[in-house]
């Protein structure tokens, strides 16, 4: 059965190859022209990851043109699964991989072609910071980093030569708050459900992430002890949603947000004083002159990581260009550029080379800023003397409790989440 199904496919492919060869020979100067031609890579990711400055710099350094395709967080995996021909390079979150890899639309990347494969941050490659294990709840990147083979549709338990995603950026998420509107000291995720803040909190309306924030809060309050917050059992999902419904009916939440700008608006307008938030969103509130703190909490952070993957259809010059671009990305300039916006770089040493010592000290070492801290586009982010919320890289990434995830019981979870919204 499989043989008969494969046979015509193979023959068709060889016919195509033959045709391609024919075209190649008939148009003799073509290969020469091709080598000279600039390559354009269609780069699929969320808008947050797409910095025009990086595309510009890559174009100068490599002669490769980057064409950004900006979509929502949820749309990235949907595009990979439904339209794998529509991009050449995808910057996807690691937590999407359990859906992407079995679809067979991604190809394992050859570790031998990545110059700095051994220098990747250990928190991504091994799940450790400074040799110490961080929380592995959810879809920890190192668990989904390797494939059994180039075309495998399942993950390898041990490191192999085939990489799913080469990390671009990652960070640790926590609660953002308005210090001018809160008189309490906030130390725990449980504050999200604190009745003192009734009608003034918000959570994410991306079910897979929102439910984890809720889980962090519920476990902190002592209601539920989860086996794995990123991969709940049906009973755990039921209990979590029941608690959320109770909080919602009591008027705990002001709103749920589903994109970056909404979270900024809620916080800046004072509609919400405490919510789960993304680091650049906190920065965005602050640049409006409104105080906003990204509060480290005793239970730790919910982390995320995203990285470059290649679609199965990529080949030839485009594939070479993609590897070239990824190697350039890891070589420091891009890492430094992202670090200055509050993200962490995949290869720390190279990013450090492209940052001023005071910048490195502020962003990575948790030290007070020796000079004013500027964003890459020249806006003032922090005045001299400021210290990064949560401190150093080791303190922040070392305190990761869980990673963004897709659960095995995903379909059940979505159904229950809709129940929560309707309640």
């Amino acid at each position: 059965m499989t043989d008969t199904a494969n046979a015509p496919k193979a023959s068709r492919r060889s016919v195509l190859k033959g045709a391609a060869a024919l075209v190649g020979t008939s148009a003799f100067p073509a290969p020469f022209v091709h080598a000279q031609e600039r390559v354009t890579l269609r780069y699929l990711s969320t808008a947050v990851n797409q910095s025009p400055a990086i595309a510009e710099r890559a174009s100068e350094d490599l002669g490769i043109d980057i064409e950004y395709i900006a979509v929502n967080t949820d749309e990235v995996p949907r595009r990979v699964i439904t339209q794998p021909n529509s991009f050449d390079l995808v910057d996807s979150e690691y937590f999407s991989l359990p859906n992407l890899v079995p679809s067979g639309n991604m190809i394992g990347m050859d570790a031998n072609r990545i110059d700095r494969i051994d220098d990747l941050a250990s928190v991504i490659a091994k799940g450790t910071v400074d040799g110490k294990k961080v929380g592995w709840d959810g879809t920890a990147p190192h668990e989904v980093l390797y494939l059994e083979g180039q075309n495998a549709t399942s993950f390898a338990a041990e490191p192999t030569e085939w990489i799913t995603l080469i990390p671009t950026t990652y960070n640790a998420d926590t609660l953002g708050l308005r210090p001018d509107l809160i008189d309490k000291e906030i130390t725990s995720w449980a504050s999200l459900l604190d009745p003192d803040f009734a009608g003034k909190t918000a959570i994410l309306n991306i079910p897979s992430i929102g439910i984890m924030d809720a889980a962090m809060a519920l476990q902190a309050r002592g209601d539920i002890t989860y086996g794995d917050k990123g991969n709940m059992t049906r009973e755990e999902i039921d209990a979590t949603i029941a608690a959320l419904i109770e909080a919602k009916r009591a008027g705990q939440f002001r709103a749920f947000w589903s994109n970056f700008q909404e979270s900024v608006n809620l916080m800046a307008s004072g509609e919400v004083v405490l919510q789960s938030m993304w680091s650049p969103a906190v920065t965005a509130v602050r640049t409006q002159g409104i105080p906003c703190v990204y509060q480290p909490l005793k239970e730790g952070y919910r982390a995320w990581a995203s990285g470059f993957g290649l679609p199965r259809t990529i080949e030839g010059r485009k594939q070479d260009a993609a590897y070239e671009f990824i190697n350039w990305f890891l070589s420091g300039w891009a890492g430094a550029h992202l670090s200055k916006q509050g993200y962490y770089a995949a290869v720390l040493d190279t990013a450090k080379e492209f940052m001023e010592p005071y910048e490195w000290a502020y962003w990575y070492e948790g030290e007070a800023a020796a000079q004013d801290i500027m964003s890459p586009d020249g806006r003032l982010l922090e005045e001299a003397g400021a210290v990064r919320d949560g401190g150093s890289y080791e303190e922040r990434m070392g305190a990761v409790a869980a990673w963004n995830a897709v659960m095995d019981e995903n379909q059940y979870m979505v159904r229950k989440w809709n129940e929560f919204i309707a309640a």
């Binding site: 949820d74 995996p77 949907r78 699964i81 359990p98 859906n99 992407l100 079995p102 679809s103 009608g199 918000a202 309306n205 991306i206 079910p207 897979s208 919602k248 939440f253 002001r254 709103a255 749920f256 947000w257 589903s258 608006n265 307008s269 004072g270 509609e271 897709v406 995903n410 379909q411 979505v414 159904r415 989440w417 809709n418 129940e419 919204i421 309707a422 309640a423």
Partner: protein
Amino acid sequence: MTHAADTDAAVRTGRTAARGRRKGRRRGSAIAPYLQAAPMALVFLIFFVLPLAATVLVSFWQYTQYSIEPAFTAQNYGDVFYGCLRDLPNLCTTFRTYLSTLKFGLIVWAATLVIGFTIAYFLAFHVRTLKVQVILFIICTIPFWTSIVIRMISWIPLLGRNGLVNQTLLFMGAIDTPLEGLLYSDFAVILAMVHLYTLFMVVPIFNSLMRIDRALIEAARDAGATGFQTLAFVILPLAKPGILIGSIFVVTVVMGDFLTIGIMGGQQIASVGKVIQTQMQFLQFPLAAANAVILLVAVLGGVWALLRLVDIRKEL
């Protein structure tokens, strides 16, 4: 007698000849109306009928987290109504969602009808010149000049906790603490929808009112009808087609709306559209398709019921 018969016959033949000529002309031009309708029919076929057929088809397929596979299963429909019988008398998610959507549909329909009719009446009967009518009409379309997102964001400074309305009320001493229910509540959703969709009522009702023969109103007055009687027994019955068309617009738009409900309700209020969107985010296309089919049936049922009330073909 013969003479009469002769003329009769002549007339008859003449008529037959005329009928024959007419028939021939009709046969030649019979295809013309079809050709005229063809472009629209084609657009409908490609962009409406085919996608709809695909949606119905996919609603019977199976899916995993990363694939959908052709099958013929009613599982998706079962999932949509999961727990609906078991949980009675408590409402299941789907019933609760539809009930909430229906509630918005009714309230918004009633509000837009009253406001829309009043505006249309004013435009049709009190504004004398066409120029002023056109200007006032354009003013009615102002809500549509900006994008939905910007319009929604601009409600925050108005209705928010620290918004204009709350600050004014606080300043006047009407309230001590800000009203929380102004934003991210049922009230906010209804306000935004009425603000948006009233125009859909104004246009068709205005059209109906303009077609009323003014002599009828004069006749009613001459016959001794009061202003209210004229309105209730002359104008309203004649405005029925406009009211019906407006109602269909408003009800269908509200039933399928998820952006307004989402943003003005702070994403805390369920709508069928939002449920479908969430399912699509998680690649549960067959389940989303099943939900879409059910929504379509519900809306078509509503439209059908409305059409029972007025025979729109006769009225037009």
